[in-house]
């Protein structure tokens, strides 16, 4: 169906202006030290709701460290010292009266290596919601497990083998199981630390398609060392280098018209 040349409505073109996007996470002047090593230097960043934000940069630039600050996973490491604020829905998660466990209930995480629990597929997905009291054991729990597995795009493959151990699946399936487990807790934000770097290209594509679906319900922040992945799926891209945030903009702008020379050098492969 092709419109008449004069009736093509310019407003229908999807040029989302930044003012129309809602901010979900507001990072203010975040600094992090590993012992004496100053790993993150004053990061300021806004992450938008229901968008995929990709963090790219060379190895050791601090993108994974930054990601783990958002759900306070770095608090588990004793030598880490954090200053600055991360404000989510109006509350700074580093305030004294915020329990890090409750932060992690609202901000889920998927890791680089698929790490399902050595339990059955059903228990993998059901364990955390039951413990948090989101559902009760029985039909409610069964429904949540089924819905989570459907949303993770793995239901058809595992619906007959729910009692089998989760570790018996292939790599791509295990990663989707981990995603199902994460979304079963019904978080607002999903953090993904290089979720496809350990997978083959077909599984990678499946998970990228899944991420595009998931962003309708969740806000997604992903670290990737594969810039093409960021180009394919991210709405916003942030480029990190040696602990600094060099550039943060819409993905199109970063990849076609980067403002900073460092960004351009990285994207064109002139430094590694």
């Amino acid at each position: 169906m092709v419109a008449n040349i004069n009736t093509l409505n310019r407003d229908n073109i999807k040029n989302i202006t930044r003012e129309k996007m809602k901010t979900k996470i507001n990072v203010k002047n975040l600094n992090l030290w590993y012992g004496k090593n100053h790993a993150l230097h004053g990061i300021n960043l806004d992450i938008y709701k229901n968008k995929i934000t990709a963090l790219i940069g060379p190895s050791g630039c601090g993108k994974s460290t930054f990601l783990r600050c958002i759900n306070r996973m770095n608090d588990l490491i004793t030598s880490v010292n954090i200053k600055g604020q991360i404000v989510i829905d109006g509350k700074n998660i580093y305030d004294k009266d915020v329990d890090e466990v409750s932060v992690r209930k609202r901000i889920g995480m998927v890791f680089q290596q698929p790490n399902p629990f050595p339990k059955s597929i059903y228990e993998n997905v059901a364990y955390a919601p039951l413990k948090h009291g989101i559902v009760k054991k029985g039909i409610q729990c069964d429904e949540l497990v089924e819905q989570s597995l459907i949303n993770a795009g793995i239901w058809d493959e595992v619906k007959d083998i729910l009692k089998e151990p989760g570790t018996g699946l292939s790599g791509g399936q295990q990663q989707r199981l981990c995603i199902a487990r994460t979304i079963a807790v019904q978080p607002d934000v999903i953090l993904m630390d290089e979720p496809t770097s350990a997978l083959d290209p077909i599984s990678t594509e499946k998970i990228e398609a899944l991420m595009l679906e998931l962003k309708k319900d969740f806000t997604i922040v992903t670290v990737t060392h594969n810039m093409q992945q960021a180009a394919r799926i991210a709405d916003m891209t942030a480029f990190f280098h040696l602990g600094d945030l060099i550039e943060y903009d819409e993905t199109e702008k970063i990849f076609i018209n980067p403002k900073e020379k460092k960004t351009e050098d990285y994207i064109t492969g002139r430094f590694g």
Binding site: V101, F117, P118, T182
Partner: protein
């Protein structure tokens, strides 16, 4: 000579054409073969020692499974009640076991019908007769020896399965000595050890591995625990003597004290193996747990422990098997005493199997030699079955993961 030269020339030509030929390989293969032979001979030597030991024990110990019984005439009357020795013919008195004779008045009391009767009964023979029948060195007077031969011709001497060994405790009468009280004592001691060392050891390991900060203090603790595992066990005996018996005033020689002493000894081993098992759980499981918003307790209890459990079990059982074979600390604590009756609670005086074996090894009578060997075999059987349980448990839990 010329044929050899020709062959060498031919081979040299072939080698030149062969691009994969490497002249140094021959030497390397030869030295690898020598190493293999050396390793194999070490293995063979070790196995030979083992085979030698086992066969020696078997040869000495298996005869203990049989005991000599003789058929004699016993007179049950009032005179026998007062002086049981009189119930047997004088010539046969030394051939028959004193223990059997002791029994006669009681038999008469339990069975009033026996009064004023004379019966032919099979009863336990004296230990020297037993040794004679089994073909070992014996100390029988010629008269007695002749009597025994006579009885033998009359088919009134036979070897039966020695159930006494497994149903009676130690005794000054060799033929009446058994390992039962030592076995029960060992079991009680082991139960005490397990009850004390397992929970404390596993909890300590969990705390050190999961909860404690990684600073100098914990490192010092770790080094000291490792050192404790290497301390000579007899020192634990002195520790037990000083603390449990002198300070706390617990009953000497009881399974309680022995068990506590052994628990102190096993604790470092359990802590070390449990820590290793916990460490072997991949960190990704914990990260996944934390990422889902679980508390530390939930992660450790529901995810890390089940995975580490096979390793902890194996370590515990090996530690306990080691404890079962310990003698030195228990000697200090007093479990070397002569205990004929089985203990019925952990606060009664008891002895353990290794201690029993040690005692028997020091007895002058010849009959105790075979009992010592049989005791060793029993102990070995128990240890091997404990290890087999460890292997089975490990296999069973491992398939789930």
């Amino acid at each position: 000579m010329s044929i050899k030269n020709l062959k060498m020339k031919k081979m040299k030509k072939q080698n030149e054409k062969n691009i994969f030929y490497d002249s140094s390989l021959k030497k390397r293969h030869a030295s690898a073969k020598r190493f293999k032979i050396f390793a194999m001979s070490s293995l063979v030597t070790a196995i030979a020692f083992l085979v030698f030991f086992i066969s020696d024990m078997l040869i000495k110990g298996l005869p203990a499974l049989q005991q000599t019984y003789v058929q004699v005439e016993i007179t049950y009357n009032d005179k026998s009640m007062k002086s049981p020795r009189g119930s047997v013919d004088r010539k046969l008195r030394r051939i028959v076991s004193r223990a059997a004779i002791r029994e006669i008045p009681r038999q008469m009391q339990n069975n009033p019908q026996l009064k004023n009767t004379t019966k032919f009964k099979w009863i336990l023979a004296d230990d020297q007769v037993d040794q004679y029948i089994k073909g070992n060195y014996y100390k029988l007077k010629n008269k007695d020896k002749q009597k025994v031969d006579e009885l033998k011709k009359q088919n009134r001497v036979e070897l039966r399965f020695n159930s006494i060994f497994f149903t009676h405790g130690d005794s000054k009468i060799p033929e009446f000595a058994g390992i039962k009280s030592a076995l029960i004592g060992s079991i009680f001691t082991l139960l005490v050890t397990m009850a004390v060392s397992f929970p404390i050891g596993v909890m300590t390991a969990i705390y050190l591995e999961e909860f404690a900060d990684d600073n100098k203090f914990t490192q010092i603790i770790e080094v000291n625990i490792n050192n404790l595992a290497a301390i000579p066990s007899i020192l634990f005996g002195l520790l037990g003597l000083a603390i449990f018996i002198n300070l706390f005033g617990l009953p000497r020689s009881s399974a309680l004290v022995g068990g506590l002493t052994l628990a102190l000894m096993t604790l470092p081993i359990i802590i070390v193996t449990a820590r290793a098992a916990l460490r072997s759980v991949p960190d990704s499981i914990r990260q996944a747990g934390y990422g889902l918003g679980l508390t530390k307790i939930q992660v450790v209890r529901d995810h890390v422990l089940p995975l580490a459990f096979p390793g902890i079990m194996t370590g515990t059982i090996i530690g306990l098997a080691q404890a079962m074979g310990e003698t030195a600390p228990l000697i200090i604590v007093g479990m070397i005493a002569f205990i004929p009756d089985s203990p019925s609670s952990i606060t009664e005086a008891a002895t353990v199997m290794p201690a029993q074996i040690f005692t028997w090894a020091g007895m002058p009578e010849r009959a105790y030699i075979e009992k010592t060997a049989m005791g060793i075999l029993t102990l070995l059987t128990v240890l091997i079955s404990l290890n087999a349980i460890a292997v089975y448990l490990r296999k069973r839990f491992e398939t789930k993961w």
